[in-house]
């Protein structure tokens, strides 16, 4: 079942015995700025909601177990593995996927541009997760969150400067089998400067 709200693109979804009420609950999320109200299977994770119900296939399924980071999206501004989040727990959340990073304009997000400039991708499958993760990571560092490699003497509560070891450490939840890591780090540096 699918309830249309004014700013929502309609995704037809047949009512079948598999999504009958009983094991389902109604959830409202804002995804890339648009509200969506859906009746979700309690087993459904955010990643599958995005890909299957909303046809937002930018978030990728690499492992489905929180091991690779390809599904990383921003939930209320924080980067999270969407394969580990049950959609039914996210009522009222604001979700941003790679499709929404650039806002509504034609121009991509500066980090997306930097990825192209640096050739920070090959097969592209980890790329949406790397991008969302990097955006979330920049917010964390600006808010003063330390990482494993942050000097313990760094004053708390102030933005943490992001040198290469910091970027690498903070991005290590996002695997890239093509090995674009050095170029990804350069792309992140480009948007910090």
């Amino acid at each position: 079942m699918y309830t249309e709200s004014p700013a929502v693109r309609k995704v037809p979804r047949a009512m079948t015995s598999a999504n009958r009420p009983g094991h389902h609950s109604e959830v409202t999320l804002r995804v890339n700025g648009k509200p969506h109200t859906l009746l979700v299977d309690h087993r459904r994770v955010l990643l599958d909601l995005l890909r299957e119900d909303l046809d937002l296939t930018g978030a990728k399924k690499g492992c489905d177990h929180g091991q690779c980071g390809a599904c990383t999206v921003l939930v209320d501004g924080r980067r999270l593995n969407s394969c580990l989040l049950l959609a039914v727990t996210l009522d009222g959340s604001e979700v941003t996927t790679v499709e929404g990073l650039g806002g509504h304009g034609e121009e991509p997000h500066p980090l997306q541009r930097a990825f192209l400039d640096r050739d920070a991708l090959q097969c592209g499958y980890c790329t949406p997760g790397q991008l969302c993760s990097a955006v979330g990571m920049l917010t964390e560092a600006a808010a003063g969150h330390p990482s494993h490699v942050t000097d313990p003497a760094t004053p708390s509560g102030r933005p943490v400067p992001l040198d290469r070891p910091e970027i690498r450490e903070r991005m290590s939840g996002n695997l890239c089998r093509c090995g674009a890591y050095p170029r990804i780090v350069e792309a992140v540096e480009d948007v910090i400067r």
Partner: protein, 698 residues
């Protein structure tokens, strides 16, 4: 070829789609009414399925079907036995697909697969790989070449050598683990089949499906527009595409099967483990007098695949006496297959480590020792090299790396708790090329369209083929469109064996050169449909060459070994390659450094264990099997010496997708030896192994 486009760092054409999430991969074709499939893996290492109870699964709301060996659609017998899925009750190894659940949603398909009850007649199995196993045999072929090559009298020459090294190296099973798991979406329209699949070669997928399902190739469309990596494991069709097509036929619905990550090691191939004995004999000047490289590996009972690790020893060094030989042990284990630089990657780890050991025995610089043993001709075949600039790569790499300042004594550099060391290794990968077709069309608006069923698995094929076309046509790059990744385009070979660009580019070049001739003779405006020319390089691309054709390279590594934790970290990695003319500086660099990163993983983190009791892998997922992460990878540097080799193809290119992984692990291992004075002969160099050795030898 003349022109300004080849070699330029053109931006990858599909990049924008990939960074905005618009690029669709195989599981992302949300066709109306699409269902999802989930496999049921065999829970015994060998035996027979005696019953499949599907009642609990079928009772779940939303389940459409459970395919079993008893009722799945019948297929013609495939050439590749791993594709004979659900055709009979035999279980050749743990993880073999014994049923397939199909349901309205992913969640229901997974629950249904779990609810299927399979009973087995379990049979004894043998999954314990040891090189002394009497069942091991000498294969006729290894990687399409002779299993054994001998020159001179290697045993006698080795026995008579003044300086000898006799060492055995071990490489564990390794997994490709592309970031996109193997996935296919299949859809039947009457007898017409369309599949969206994650494959390195859609042309082969079409011909295999035609054979299995008894269809004309014209009745099948294979789409592989974006492919999330493969590294060999998507080189030929894998069970996902066959199962998806069977499930779609059985249910009358479009069906997507995306293999769960943990299931991949059992069904998509792996790099088989190798035990490699190297015997190097040399005279006191360091000139080789004997080189014996003997490899033992395993294969499955489903098919013979030989990890041809002794093959690079046929290419590398001048020696009057050579043995390069393989033995393979069939076991009740998952089937091995190609993984990036099959043969060369593990083989050169062992050979280049052994050469480093010889340098140590001789007291010769390892760069100089390699240069001293440069052959005039390819040692095994006696053919002249079309081009070979290994010595130049070694010298240039040594210059950039600061090799001259190196103190050769092991264990001499200390920095707090760290021992520092540097190492070098050579790299090689053969030039391969296959016939291809392509078409080029000139349109009245002054633009051009090149069509070819190439696969862009992240190499930048669209981009580099546009560069080839633009130069052959003599037009700016932005006037050329490329269409790839669909089987209704002109057939082309796979993206594998580092031969994609050479094979496709040759056909694109021919089509465009012919089109340019036609246009030169054309007067007046073009017809509305334009002018189209088709090329086929059969007979040219596969013609025998009188030359031995290989790319070469040199890898340099600096490591820091933590004496407290045993952790080895790579601080610097430099690769200098000679691979013909580099066609796109930007995407080529990404391929080189990306493959070197995989080599770094092979050296330090990647490890799989074939559990002899269970008969499959103990590290099946990305939490247990450690591919390198950001924090593992330093600023890797790759560069190249441009070669002018007229004996290759019209672009003068050699393949670049695989050579970057070759030699990396040896360079790192040699650096660890230089740092610690301890020689490790089994990969990977994990902290447990290093610390144990440091404590016992320190």
């Amino acid at each position: 070829m003349t022109g300004t486009n080849l070699g330029a760092p053109a931006e990858r054409r599909e990049g924008r789609q990939k960074v905005t999430g618009a690029a669709r991969y195989a599981a992302e074709y949300t066709l109306p009414g699409r269902a999802h499939a989930w496999p049921v893996p065999a829970a015994v290492p060998r035996g027979r399925v005696t019953a499949v109870d599907t009642s609990a699964a079928l009772a779940l709301p939303g389940v459409l079907a459970v395919l079993t060996p008893g009722d799945a659609p019948r297929l013609a017998e495939p050439e590749d036995g791993t594709l004979a899925v659900l055709q009979d009750p035999d279980v050749p190894h743990r993880g073999w697909c014994v049923a397939l659940a199909v349901a309205e949603t992913l969640e229901t398909a997974r629950a249904a697969a779990r609810a299927v009850r399979v009973t087995y007649d379990r049979k004894p199995h043998h999954a314990d790989f040891t090189e002394a196993d009497p069942d091991a045999y000498e294969p006729d072929e290894a990687g399409g070449q002779a299993g054994r090559v001998e020159r001179g009298d290697p045993e006698a020459a080795y026995a008579a050598a003044g300086v000898r090294v006799d060492v055995t190296y071990r490489v564990p099973p390794l997994h490709n683990h592309p970031m996109e798991p193997h996935a296919s979406t299949a859809h039947w329209d009457g007898d017409r089949l369309t599949v969206y699949t994650s494959s390195q070669g859609g042309t082969a997928v079409r011909s295999v499906l035609a054979q299995l399902f008894g269809l004309d190739e014209e009745g099948i469309t294979v789409v592989a527009e974006h492919v999330g990596g493969g590294f060999g494991s998507k080189g030929t069709p894998r069970p996902d595409v066959v199962l998806a097509a069977m499930a779609a036929r059985h249910t009358g619905r479009p069906v997507t099967l995306a293999l769960p990550r943990r299931y991949l090691p059992d069904v998509v191939g792996h790099r088989a483990p190798t035990v490699q004995r190297l015997r190097l004999g040399a005279d006191p000047d360091g000139r080789l007098t004997a080189l014996l490289h003997e490899v033992t590996t395993h294969t499955s009972r489903v098919k013979e695949f030989v990890e041809y690790a002794a093959v690079p020893s046929r290419v590398m060094y001048a020696t009057p006496a050579l043995r390069s030989a393989h033995r393979v042990l069939p076991l009740d284990v998952p089937s091995p297959s190609w993984m990036r630089a099959p043969g060369e990657a593990p083989g050169m780890y062992a050979l280049e480590s052994a050469v480093d050991e010889l340098a140590g025995v001789l007291g010769t610089d390892p760069v100089e020792l390699r240069i001293r043993n440069e052959p005039d001709r390819e040692p095994a075949s006696g053919k002249p090299f079309s081009s070979r600039h290994l010595a130049e790569c070694l010298r240039e790499g040594a210059r950039r790396f600061g090799w001259a300042e190196r103190d050769p004594r092991p264990g001499a550099r200390r920095e707090g708790p760290f021992l520092l060391g540097t190492g070098v290794a050579a790299a090689t990968y053969p030039v391969q090329v296959a016939p291809s077709t392509a078409s080029a069309q000139a349109l009245p608006d002054g633009t051009f369209t090149v069509r070819i069923n190439a696969a862009d698995i992240g190499t930048g094929a669209r981009t580099v083929l546009a560069q080839v076309a633009a130069d052959a046509l003599g037009v700016p790059l932005d006037r050329v469109r490329t269409e790839v990744g669909r089987s209704d385009l002109p057939p082309a070979p796979l993206a594998g064996g580092s031969m994609g660009t050479a094979s496709w580019g040759w056909a694109v070049h021919e089509a465009c050169a012919e089109l340019a001739c036609r246009l030169a003779g054309h007067t007046g405006p073009l017809p509305v449909e334009g002018i189209e020319v088709r090329a086929d390089t059969a007979g040219k691309a596969d013609a025998d060459s009188p030359y031995a054709r290989h790319a070469f390279g040199a890898q340099f590594a600096e490591v820091a070994v933590d004496t407290v934790t045993g952790e080895t970290r790579v601080r610097r990695l430099l690769g200098v390659f000679a691979a013909g003319h580099i066609l796109n500086a930007r995407t080529a660099r990404s391929q080189f450094t990306g493959a070197m990163t995989m080599g770094l993983g092979m050296a330090l983190t990647e490890h799989s264990t074939l559990d002899a009791v269970f008969g499959d892998f103990a590290e099946p997922d990305l939490a247990a099997y450690h591919v390198p992460a950001h924090a593992d990878v330093p600023d890797i540097e790759a560069d190249w010496l441009d070669e002018d080799d007229p004996h290759l193809n019209p672009m003068g290119s050699k393949g670049i997708g695989e050579i970057g992984i070759v030699g990396t692990a040896a360079a790192v291992g040699n650096a660890v030896h230089h740092a610690t004075g301890i020689r490790f002969r089994e990969l990977p160099l994990t902290p447990d192994r290093v610390l144990t050795a440091l404590l016992s030898e320190g």
